[in-house]
């Protein structure tokens, strides 16, 4: 898995900031941003996650002509996956970590490379067996410089998380 080209664009930053409810003008007003310490529009701290938009194989985006597991005429477009080793409750995001070597700005064109990290299991009180898996993503800019190191941990649960 890799993202070969993740162009960081002004309007994408604006929409992402809106989605997280952040009306800080440094994310949408170039004139204002000129007078700030970074000196230009920058991306909010979790923006790198939107690299999913540029991953051609990203599994959580419907693709033309391909089955999609969300509802249409029936509650799901595909048969549920089953697995004997747990994980029938589906995948959830357990942890996310970012290290910023510098902040992203419009005009940057990033590449992202992924590598798997550790995997481990735990017995959960509210969702049965939990299978954790870690992945490390390195974002590099158009000059090959490392700009963000991200570490994500996903968890597959045996059953949906029980609500307190």
């Amino acid at each position: 898995m890799a993202v070969e080209s993740f162009p960081v664009e002004f309007s994408h930053i604006m929409m992402f900031a809106r989605a997280v409810g952040d009306d800080n003008p440094i994310y949408h007003d170039p004139q204002y941003a000129k007078g700030t310490e970074p000196g230009s529009v920058i991306a909010p701290p979790t923006f790198a996650q939107a690299s999913a938009q540029f991953d051609p194989d990203y599994s959580l985006r419907p693709k033309p002509g391909k089955p999609w597991f969300g509802s249409g005429g029936s509650p799901s477009g595909v048969q549920r996956e089953t697995s004997e080793s747990g994980g029938n409750g589906g995948g959830l995001h357990a942890e996310q970590h970012f290290e910023y070597h510098r902040h992203l700005k419009p005009g940057d064109v990033l590449t992202a490379t992924f590598r798997p990290g550790a995997t481990w299991e735990k017995e959960g009180k509210r969702s049965g067996k939990l299978i954790f898996s870690e992945s490390i993503t390195e974002y590099r800019d158009q000059n090959g410089e490392l700009v963000i190191t991200a570490r994500g941990v996903g968890v597959r649960t045996e059953r949906p998380v029980e609500q307190a």
């Binding site: 929409m15 597991f69 942890e95």
Partner: protein, 139 residues
């Protein structure tokens, strides 16, 4: 406005309300912006009838993104050097979230002044939905 080392002490806190009565539409907005279209966050029929949850729920990364706004409002734009979280409980439509950063350490590394923060976001029931840390450059 960046923070000044001389003004900070361990135990100082900064708190912001992140969202009041979280709307499903914001989950749709976040799906569109981030590219994570997992129906668990936007498709009530799939999520209740197939996945077995009581309702759609927020992307963890939406909670991390909203919490990030509290952090950048506190430490200033472009100042974060690290930010990491664990998602400790799900966030549901209707939730009201508050987030607090607490100063854990003020230090200097190779001429760069840094603050280490503990970060926690809680819902209207006082349940932590996100806990983590951040580090930022300060003056």
């Amino acid at each position: 406005m960046a923070l000044k080392a001389s003004d900070l002490k361990v135990g100082d806190t900064h708190t912001e309300r992140l969202v009041e009565d979280l709307k499903r539409t914001q989950l749709v907005q976040y799906a569109g912006a981030s590219g994570d279209y997992n129906p668990l966050h936007t498709d009530e029929i799939y999520t209740t009838q197939v996945a077995g949850y009581p309702a759609v729920f927020a992307h963890g990364m939406l909670t991390m993104g909203m919490t990030g706004r509290m952090l950048t409002n506190y430490v200033g734009d472009g100042r974060l050097t690290k930010y990491g979280v664990r998602f400790t409980s799900q966030v549901w439509p209707g939730d009201t979230l508050d987030s607090t950063a607490t100063v854990e350490k003020v230090s200097q590394e190779g001429g760069v002044k840094l603050v280490d923060l503990a970060v926690v976001t809680t819902n209207q029931k006082g349940v932590a939905v996100l806990s983590g840390y951040a580090q930022a450059r300060i003056d």
